[in-house]
């Protein structure tokens, strides 16, 4: 289990005064302090960790966020920003002495500008909500994390979320133009805007992916893109992970950048097929889902070329979709992967590391050895084009020993990712989950550099406590 810091006794002792102070700042329904109503906020997508917070506030405007931040700064209260609570790394896990700042009531789309291809939305708008608002005009918002039906853009900014299509369209950071943020001291700042280039320091780039450590994001200006004429997927199944990996290299090496290039290993194929009946070949060791875009003729052109390349790698089978329905069926299994694994195992940990794609086969081989050694099954989903690996480790949460093994196994996988030249997290963030592994990727000097930047924004270290940075060795002891 990951250690948590001791709550500040001074804050806990003043709980009633703090709640009363918050009630002065917000509408009546905007402050939650009753134990039973705090319960839903005790965890996020990393549900193995739970902690009921001191209070929850649900502001409706940037000004209310600023008032809450100024108050908490004055009172020395730690603040945990929260969107939809879908973080898989515990990025929104409360602390006992913290106020959870929920942004879900800030859910309005403020402006859509098709001529300038941007939209201004509040932090609590869902990822899919942006695309839904603009798709009538043929536009979309590109990053598409698996949780896109629920997750909110404020959380996407803080985690720099990716998705299945970032090989072509980039991650959140590549699709933002501006932010409205509130500092730890309660000041409102505008970063960027509707223009494409910043002069001066790239605050937008630094704040994106900063996991709530630096500021609270209340509004986001996103780039919206005109959708392609169409898209189509194909399946290619191979006899080994090595061969599938070599085929990915050959596709990219040919100069084609598909919009999506997804890889599944044998356990993932079986789990997804049993769940979705997508027609995945069960005799294959590895499966690629490849998607291209353009007019029908263009799709045919790219798919013909890709099929020709795949053909050189002795595929078990290939299937090119002939319609939107068939493409949907091909994606159905992949998009349902988490649910599929959930069906065959009582619980699973969804890991997220990145590796150089050339090391895929080697890494999967070693994960297989670890799986045998730990006695825990694992299914691997991989954004093959960009090296982002998602091992799903299956365990039983009712058995503390099984959970402990799963966590240790997961940590070993992430250490392996770093060892082969990759990193601890590709798109889920560090949160609390990988906090204590940061020393595997960074030196103490590098972590100190990052801590100083945190201090430059948040001198009192009140924002999203105990995430990202390893707790100092000298954890404060209970009084």
């Amino acid at each position: 289990m990951i250690a948590q810091p001791e709550p500040k006794r001074t804050v806990m002792a003043r709980r009633d005064i703090i709640v009363a102070g918050l009630r002065d700042l917000l509408p009546e329904t905007g402050v939650i302090a009753e134990a039973i109503r705090l319960k839903p906020y005790e965890t996020d997508g990393l549900s193995a960790y739970r902690q009921v917070p001191l209070a929850v506030v649900l502001p409706e405007t940037t000004e209310q966020v600023a008032a809450v931040m100024a108050f908490c700064h004055h009172e020395g209260v730690r603040v945990v920003p929260r969107g939809a609570g879908t973080s898989l790394s515990g990025g929104a896990l409360p602390m006992e002495d913290s106020v959870v700042l929920g942004l879900m009531r800030m859910n309005r789309i403020l402006d859509i500008d098709y001529a300038d291809r941007c939209a201004v939305v509040q932090a609590g708008v869902t990822n899919i909500g942006i695309t839904q608002a603009v798709q009538g005009e043929g536009f979309f918002y590109a990053p598409d994390p698996s949780s896109q039906l629920a997750c909110m853009i404020g959380g996407n900014v803080n985690m720099n979320s990716g998705g299945a299509h970032c090989l072509r369209y980039g991650v959140t950071a590549n699709n933002l133009l501006g932010l409205r943020v509130v500092t730890a001291e309660g000041e409102v700042m505008e970063i960027g805007g509707a223009h494409m280039d910043a002069a001066g320091y790239d605050w937008l780039g630094l704040l994106t992916g900063s996991e709530g450590q630096l500021v609270v994001v209340t509004e986001v200006t996103v780039r919206i893109l005109r959708g392609p004429e169409g898209a189509r997927a194909m399946l290619a199944a191979f006899k080994s992970n090595e061969v599938a990996g070599a085929c990915v290299d050959a596709i990219i090496g040919s100069g084609i950048i598909p919009v999506a290039l997804e890889f599944m290993d044998r356990p993932a194929i079986h789990a997804c097929e049993a769940f979705a009946h997508a027609g995945y070949p069960l005799d294959a060791e590895a499966l690629l889902i490849i998607e291209v875009e353009g007019s029908l003729t263009e799709q045919d052109y790219y798919l013909d070329r890709i099929r020709e390349i795949c053909g050189r790698f002795d595929p078990v089978s290939m299937k090119v979709s002939q319609s939107a329905e068939e493409s949907l069926a091909i994606w159905k299994g992949r998009k349902g992967a988490f649910g599929a694994v959930g069906r065959i195992s009582p619980d699973y940990l969804c890991m997220d590391g990145t590796i150089p794609t050339s090391r895929l086969a080697d890494v999967l081989g070693r994960i297989g050895e670890m799986s045998a050694a730990y006695g825990l099954q694992v299914a691997n989903i991989f954004h093959a084009g960009d090296g982002n690996l998602h091992p799903l480790i299956m365990f039983d949460a009712n058995d503390p020993a099984s959970f402990h093994k799963a966590e240790t196994f997961g940590a070993d996988i992430l250490k392996l990712c770093v060892e082969v030249g990759g990193c601890l997290t590709g798109e889920h963030g560090v949160g609390i989950e990988k906090r204590d592994l940061m020393g595997v990727q960074f030196t103490e000097i590098e972590l100190e550099q990052q801590r100083r930047i945190k201090s430059a924004f948040d001198p009192g270290w009140l924002l999203n406590p105990s995430k990202v940075f390893p707790l100092k060795a000298e954890l404060p002891k209970a009084a």
Binding site: R117, A199, C423
Partner: protein, 399 residues
């Protein structure tokens, strides 16, 4: 001015550590090919990274290349071209613009975060910096990012250091994402549009499903200075499509139909397209202008109003890229002209790109940060460079 030219990263560490110990400011540069950009630095010594030259990793099938910060951009481009790839943000070659001969380095390209026409579709240079190794103002080596395309581990210092002009840390090695060079290019040219109509046409092109990767407008006088465009006569409005040959043929044809309301478009072939966009990228129309040159980034639809405002204030030469979202403006090197550009830019971003040293030292060369952010900027500068020895005053006076 004395110059230190370390040949390895340890040499950079030693040089900065010594400067830190003695509190001596140093000018950080590659070959100083963009020394004419932003503010002049007052420092007795220059630390050049040009000795840190060479490609250390190139894995075309993984789309990654790593090289020493002093590696000439041309060397990177040539190595990538040999494998059919390129730096997709199309960073400009400003050697003619600044009249410098030393080759631009990778470190300088990243430190200035300059992006070319493809910014509208493929993002800025900062979007393709995957990893950085740098030495902060205390002589400590810090790494951020890595050699993989997706990485959200810790704070993204790659983006912060990109565009920081050597004021936070001295970059020693940089890893870039590189992408395949499209098989073919094609450019549609609409003739004789005034700026307002031109930007509307470009918005229609950029808002089409045909993946337009360049969108520029040059008034007649500017187009006349680009050989690939001069023959067209009059103002030109250009939309570029890059992809496999059949896709380019199909999409340019469709886009031509979609833009029919703006006039009959001519089609520039692959060669003419390449040279026209290289000229736009490298600011060729303004190279021979005397006086000052500014770069202004605004919301694309605001581009024509900015051009109109500066033209009212002084005798301006200008052209637009990024569908109207980027203006290159030349005018008199005076504080009055500078103030007019700043006012026209409004809430957009602006940079004084080229001017005599006196003007560069006298005015803000980038927009001043508002109060809370100015405080944070000072804190962040101190977090990297507590004694203020790295490129002091390069971006902002006193920082």
């Amino acid at each position: 001015m004395s110059e230190i030219v370390p040949t390895d990263a340890a040499g950079v560490v030693a040089a900065v550590a010594e400067a830190y110990a003695t509190g001596t400011p140093i000018a950080v540069a590659g070959n100083a090919s963009k020394a004419g950009l932003l503010r002049p630095v007052q420092a007795a010594r220059t630390l050049s990274t040009r000795g840190l030259s060479g490609i250390s990793l190139y894995s075309p099938q993984e789309l990654v290349m790593a090289a020493g910060a002093g590696t000439p951009v041309a060397e990177i481009a040539a190595a990538a071209a040999a494998k059919g790839q390129h730096i997709i943000s199309e960073p400009p070659d400003l050697s003619a613009f600044y009249g410098t001969s030393g080759p631009a380095t990778l470190g300088g390209m990243v430190a200035a975060n300059l992006s070319g026409p493809r910014r509208v579709m493929w993002g800025a240079t900062r979007d393709h910096v995957l990893g950085v190794t740098a030495v902060n103002g205390m002589g400590e080596t810090i790494r951020s990012g890595g050699r993989v395309l997706k990485n959200v581990t810790g704070l993204d210092l790659c983006k912060l250091l990109t565009g920081s002009y050597g004021t936070l840390a001295v970059m020693t090695e940089i890893t870039l994402k590189v992408l395949p060079v499209p098989e073919r290019r094609g450019t549609l040219v609409l003739k004789g549009l005034e700026p307002g109509r031109a930007v509307k046409a470009l918005a229609a092109a950029l808002g089409s499903p045909y993946a337009v990767s360049g969108a520029a407008h040059l008034p007649a006088a500017m187009a006349a200075r680009v050989p690939a465009l001069a023959w067209l006569g009059g103002s030109v409005t250009l939309a570029r499509i890059e992809d496999f040959a059949p896709a380019v043929a199909y999409r340019t044809e469709r886009l031509k139909v979609e833009l029919a309301g703006y006039g009959a478009a001519e089609l520039l072939d692959d060669g003419a397209s390449t040279s026209a966009w290289a000229a736009i990228r490298d600011v060729v129309p303004l190279v021979s202008e005397a006086g000052a040159v500014w770069r202004v980034s605004v919301r694309p639809s605001a581009g024509p109003a900015v051009a109109e405002a500066v033209a009212r204030a002084f005798d301006a030469a200008w052209f637009m890229d990024w569908g109207g979202g980027l203006l290159w403006i030349a005018g008199p090197a005076t504080e009055e002209a500078h103030a007019a550009v700043v006012q026209a830019a409004g809430t957009g971003a602006w940079t004084l790109m080229r001017a005599p040293e006196t003007l560069r030292a006298a005015v803000a060369v980038v927009p001043p940060e508002p109060a809370p952010l100015a405080r944070i900027a000072r804190n962040v500068k101190a977090a990297f460079d507590p004694k203020g020895i790295l490129n002091p005053g390069r971006m902002v006076a006193g920082l």
